[in-house]
C-alpha cells in the first residue's frame, strides 16, 4: 500500500504536474506536495504523487555506511 518508487523529474508541467522517468518509463505525476522539486531531482512517487525528494549526498553517505558496517567485504559485482 505504501509502495513508492524513486523517479527522476524530466519536465515540470502546468498545474503542479511533472513528467518523470522511472527506469525508462515516462509518466505524468503531481508535484503539488513537493513544490521544491526541480528538473533532474529524484522524487519518491506514491499513488500518482511525488511525496518527497531524495537527497543525493545522503544516499551516497548511507551506501558508505553499509560498506563500513559489513563485517565481510562485499564481492565486487560482476
Amino acid at each position: 500500500m505504501c509502495l513508492a518508487l524513486p523517479a527522476r523529474v524530466v519536465a515540470l508541467l502546468p498545474d503542479d504536474q511533472a513528467q518523470i522517468d522511472l527506469g525508462g518509463v515516462r509518466k505524468t505525476v503531481s508535484v503539488a506536495l513537493t513544490p521544491d522539486a526541480r528538473v533532474g531531482d529524484y522524487v519518491i512517487v506514491h499513488v500518482g504523487h511525488a511525496i518527497g525528494l531524495i537527497d543525493a549526498a545522503e544516499a551516497e553517505r548511507t551506501l558508505a555506511l553499509f560498506a563500513e558496517m559489513a563485517l565481510t567485504p562485499s564481492e565486487p559485482s560482476a
Binding site: M1, C2, L3, A4, L5, P6, R8, L22, G23, S30, A32, L33, T34, P35, Y42, I44, H46, V47, G48, H49, I51, G52, L53, I54, D55, A56, E58, A59, R61, T62, L63, L65, F66, A67, M69, A70, L71, T72, P73, S74, E75, S77
Partner: protein, 381 residues
C-alpha cells in the same frame, strides 16, 4: 534503477548480517517490531529473517492499511455501491478484503455494483467529472502517505464545486497505533510480546518526519530506527537497533536519511490539516477501537464527506471466529499459528485481511516463507 538496485546488494547484506551476529551479547535475545507492512514484505521477500542470527526475532506490526481496515468499513462501501447507486472508486488493494455476508468489493462488483479500481485519488475525481449524473464516492484508505493526495482532491473538488463527489475516509495514523501496541496488555503486563525496539516506517516518515517518534524513545524507552524499504536499509536498521540495545540507549535514529527529515514534508502536512481533523475513535481490525487514531473530514468540507452525505452509520462486525488476524496484527501470534493459514485461507481466497495485501504478514509468509517451514529431508536413492 537508481536508488533501488544499489540498496539490494546481497553480498553486502550478508556482510552486515555477519556484523550483527558478531555484536550480539551472549545469552541475550532481541525482538524488534517492524511496524510497516512494507518492511514485513521486504523481510519475507529478500529472506532477511534467514540472514539474521536466531537470537534476533522480527515481530510483524499492524502497519498495513488494508489489514487493519475493519469489516464494518468495507460494508459501508459495499452498501453505497449496491444499495445507493454510487460509483465506488478505490485502490486495488481493498478489492478482496472480506466483508459481511461472504462479500468483498470484488464479489459486490460481480453482483452488479459499479466499483472502479483507481491508481490515484485524482482518477476518482476524474470519474466524478465524467459522470455528473452519478454520485462518485472514493473509498480512501491508508496511512500518512495516501492522506495528502486525498486532501488534495477534496480541496480540488471544492474549488471546482463538484456536486457529485465525496470521500469515505478511513485514513489512519501511525503514531497512535504504535502507542496502542506499547500500551497493550501483552506488551506491558504479560510480556508475551517482548519489544526491544521498532523499525520506523519509510514512506510515512517522509511525510510526518522523524520527530513524532521521539515520544516512544523518551516515554517508553524504546529505540526507533526509521528505515527505507530496500533490503539493505532493513538489515542496516536492525544492526543499529542491536547497537542501541547493547548500549542501553533508546533514541530515534534515521537510516532513511536520504528521504526523511526531522520535520517531514511540510507542504503535505499543511494540506492534510486544512482538510482533515482527528477522529475521536476509529475501529482497527485486530486492535479494536483506538482513540484519536484516524482522520475525518473537517466541517468546512462536510459536503465531500460520504459519511454525512449518505448519513452512514458505523456497525462493527466481528472477524471470522477461526481467523487469527487480530492476534497476528498485535504481534501475539505468527501466521503459522492460525488453523486457516494456507489451507482455507490463501491469497486467492483470503478469509482474513492479513492474507489480502502482499504486505500482510500472512500473505508475505505464504508467498515467500511457507516452504521454509518444511524441513528438507534427503531420501536415499
Amino acid at each position: 534503477m537508481k536508488y533501488v538496485d544499489e540498496f539490494r546488494d546481497g553480498a553486502l547484506a550478508r556482510g552486515i548480517a555477519d556484523r550483527i551476529a558478531a555484536e550480539l551479547q551472549p545469552g541475550r535475545r532481541y525482538s524488534f517490531m517492524e511496524f510497516c507492512g512494507g518492511h514485513t514484505h521486504a523481510i519475507a521477500r529478500y529472506g532477511i529473517a534467514e540472514l539474521l542470527p536466531p537470537e534476533v526475532r522480527m515481530i510483524h506490526g499492524p502497519g498495513c492499511p488494508v489489514c487493519v481496515l475493519p469489516i464494518g468499513r468495507i460494508d459501508q462501501a459495499i452498501h453505497l455501491a449496491l444499495e445507493r447507486g454510487a460509483i465506488l472508486a478505490t485502490y486495488g488493494d481493498t478489492m478482496r478484503v472480506p466483508a459481511s455476508n461472504s462479500l468483498s468489493l470484488m464479489k459486490a462488483k460481480a453482483r452488479g455494483a459499479d466499483i472502479r479500481m483507481v491508481y490515484s485519488a485524482t482518477d476518482a475525481l476524474a470519474l466524478a467529472r465524467a459522470n455528473p449524473q452519478r454520485e462518485v464516492v472514493f473509498l480512501a484508505i491508508g496511512f500518512e502517505t495516501t492522506t495528502p493526495p486525498t486532501a488534495l482532491v477534496i480541496r480540488q473538488a471544492a474549488k471546482e464545486d463538484l456536486a457529485n463527489f465525496s470521500v469515505l475516509s478511513c485514513h489512519v495514523l501511525t503514531p497512535s497505533a504504535i502507542t496502542h501496541i506499547l500500551e497493550s496488555a501483552e506488551v506491558r503486563q504479560y510480556g508475551t510480546v517482548p519489544i526491544d525496539g521498532f523499525i520506523g516506517p519509510a514512506h510515512v516518515s517522509i511525510v510526518i518526519g522523524s520527530a513524532p517518534y521521539q515520544h516512544f524513545a523518551e516515554e517508553y524507552r524504546k529505540p526507533v530506527v526509521i528505515a527505507g524499504f530496500e533490503p539493505l536499509d532493513v538489515v542496516q536498521a536492525i544492526g543499529m537497533l542491536v547497537r542501541q540495545v547493547n548500549a542501553g540507549r533508546a533514541e530515534v535514529e534515521n537510516e532513511f536519511i536520504r528521504a526523511v527529515t526531522p520535520e517531514g514534508n511540510v507542504a503535505a502536512q499543511a494540506v492534510v490539516s486544512e482538510v482533515f481533523e482527528l477522529r475521536e475513535r476509529f475501529e482497527w481490525r485486530g486492535l479494536g477501537e483506538v482513540p484519536y487514531s484516524a482522520l475525518k473530514i473537517r466541517p468546512a468540507y462536510a459536503r465531500f464527506d460520504a459519511e454525512r452525505r449518505f448519513a452512514l452509520d458505523y456497525r462493527p462486525v466481528p472477524d471470522h471466529k477461526q481467523c487469527e488476524c487480530g492476534a497476528i496484527l498485535r504481534g501475539v501470534k505468527r501466521p503459522t499459528d492460525c488453523k486457516l493459514f494456507g489451507t482455507v485461507c490463501t491469497p486467492d481466497n483470503p478469509m482474513g485481511s492479513c492474507m489480502v495485501s502482499s504486505e500482510g504478514a500472512c500473505a508475505a509468509h505464504y508467498s515467500y516463507g511457507r516452504f521454509r517451514d518444511i524441513p528438507v529431508v534427503s531420501v536415499p536413492a
